[in-house]
Amino acid sequence: MRRELHAEWTKLRGLPGLGWWAPALVVVTVMTGVAASAAVTCPWAGCGSDAAKLSLAGVQVGQAVVALLAVPAITGEYGTGMIRTSLAAMPRRLVFLAAKAAVVIGLTLAAGTVAVLASVLAGRLILPGNGFTAAHGYSALSLADGPTLRAAAGSVLYLALVAALSLGVGVAVREGVAAVGIVLGLLYLPQVVTLMTNDPDWQRFLLQVSPASAGLSIQATVGIPSLPIGPWPGLGVLAAWAGAALLGGGLLLRRRDA
């Protein structure tokens, strides 16, 4: 496995555009969070806004940038025919995929940590100016605060799970553009489709099982009892999606001709 990891890391470094990927993830995530934080005010105590979730709102856009790394990491190999060379060098296909997943997820964890920490810091600086003050029941965002730490760490894990999901879909679909469409569709569309029904039970069910809305409940720090799914179970739903995608992709990779 060590050799495979080393090989995959070398390959990932050679991916075109990798140099700007991590900065792009950080900038997109932080800027979205800043825009959201700057636009919201908390005019009175009990305004109901979730400060941690607000400052981490950039994750909702950042996840698309994660797909931008994780999908081509595998579909690029199919596009160039490199996959045959890779599988010739690493005939244990599941090990090959695991190594690739480890490298992609590792990189996402690293860049995601920077993005999330910067977002929390930005929220800490911006939000008190918008009425998120002690008088209105908000203390400055701090990772020493349990729920905030959970929201921040969970957001990093969320991005990593999105990377795993992207990789799984990529290996199953093999065509990069189509895989990106499926991944982003999975992440963004359930929220919209939910709006199409006015049956609250259905809405709740859709929000419980869709990867993004369930996974993002990890960011909630207020009103948790009213959420369709709790923070950790929600992240678990996304983990199940990611695991299923990777497993399905891995089985297809093993059975199919390269």
């Binding site: 050799r3 080393h6 090989a7 070398t10 390959k11 050679g14 160039t80 025919g81 490199m82 060379t85 890779s86 010739a88 060098a89």
Partner: protein
């Protein structure tokens, strides 16, 4: 329109590399012009400049006296095969030709005709993605012929062909030229053009090294060289080298001498009583002529062969 290609003083720089450095030559109708040179000599770039895909920094490249971009229905003026792998794999061979035909205002009939012409009629409805390299080359040639153009440019059409395919393409190119077309065929192996090209443009380091008929080139390469057969090789070498001639040993009893006429050699050997069995004017092969011409122009020595894109970098570990 005249069936010609004129490349006049074209320069093209990619970053710090001077890819084309005053490339100048002309391609005339009625013959196959071989465009040869080592890898990286600028053959493909020249073709791309002629076809308007790359823009020249200096100089001009004209087809029938006009720049490619100004041609209306360009495929009826020039047909080109650049990269046989440039196909949408899920499209059938016929459909690939069909859209090209439509782009020139032609119908599916023309697509069928060229498929038959290159011998792909039986696989017309198969996905091009499943084609072998040889079949793709044929499909690429069919695409070049779609507008029935008087000028053809083929970049390395022999690549990936089996011996039978090479024989076929040689005959095919000759017959296209015999119809009065100008045919420019690039290759990095002179042997592939041996019996095909009547005229050669030899390039190296972005410049034309030689532009001549095949017979002339061979004659030039053979000039002043004499093959000497002798049982007393060391003595012969001493005698001849003493006069300032260049002597090279070919095998145990054969020498090649340059810088001395055959008559003078006979005179010298007789004078020093060196025995010999044969003195004959040397007739160079096309390959030798080529090697001689491009010796200084080879871009990459074996020791610094670069990795091809897509090769396995970690495989070396």
């Amino acid at each position: 329109m005249e069936a010609t290609i004129d490349v006049i003083g074209v320069r093209k720089r990619f970053g710090r590399t001077m890819a084309l450095d005053g490339m100048t030559f002309a391609v005339r109708p009625g013959r196959v012009t071989g465009f040869v040179g080592p890898n990286g000599a600028g053959k493909s770039t020249t073709m791309r400049v002629v076809l308007g895909l790359d823009t020249a920094d200096e100089g001009s490249a004209l087809v029938g006296g006009r720049p490619y971009a100004s041609l209306r229905r360009p495929l009826s003026h020039v047909g080109a095969l650049l990269d046989a792998a440039a196909l949408q794999p899920s499209r059938t061979a016929r459909d690939h030709l069909l859209w090209l035909a439509h782009s020139q205002g032609l119908t599916g009939r023309r697509a069928d005709e060229v498929m038959e012409q290159v011998g792909l009629g039986s696989v017309a409805r198969r996905r091009a993605g499943g084609f072998s390299l040889g079949m793709r080359q044929r499909l690429g040639i069919a695409a070049a012929l779609i507008g029935d153009p008087p000028v053809l440019m083929l970049d390395e059409p022999f690549n990936g062909l089996d011996p039978e395919g090479i024989v076929w393409i040689r005959g095919f190119l000759r017959s296209l030229a015999a119809e009065g077309r100008a045919v420019l065929v690039s290759s990095h192996l002179m042997s592939e053009l041996q019996d095909t090209a009547g005229h050669l443009v030899v390039v190296g380091r972005g410049r034309v090294v030689a532009d001549a008929g095949v017979a002339e080139l061979i004659a030039a390469a053979s000039r002043d060289r004499v093959t000497l057969r002798t049982t007393a090789r060391p003595e012969a070498m001493t005698v001849l080298a003493g006069t300032g001639a260049t002597v090279a040993a070919v095998d145990r009893d054969t020498l090649t001498v340059s810088g001395l006429a055959a008559g003078r050699i006979v005179e010298l050997l007789n004078g020093h009583a060196v025995p010999f069995s044969e003195v004959a004017a040397h007739r160079a092969t096309l390959e030798e002529a080529y090697m001689e011409l491009t010796r200084d122009a080879v871009e990459f020595r074996a020791a610094m062969t670069p990795l091809e894109p897509g090769t396995d970098r970690e495989g070396a570990r």
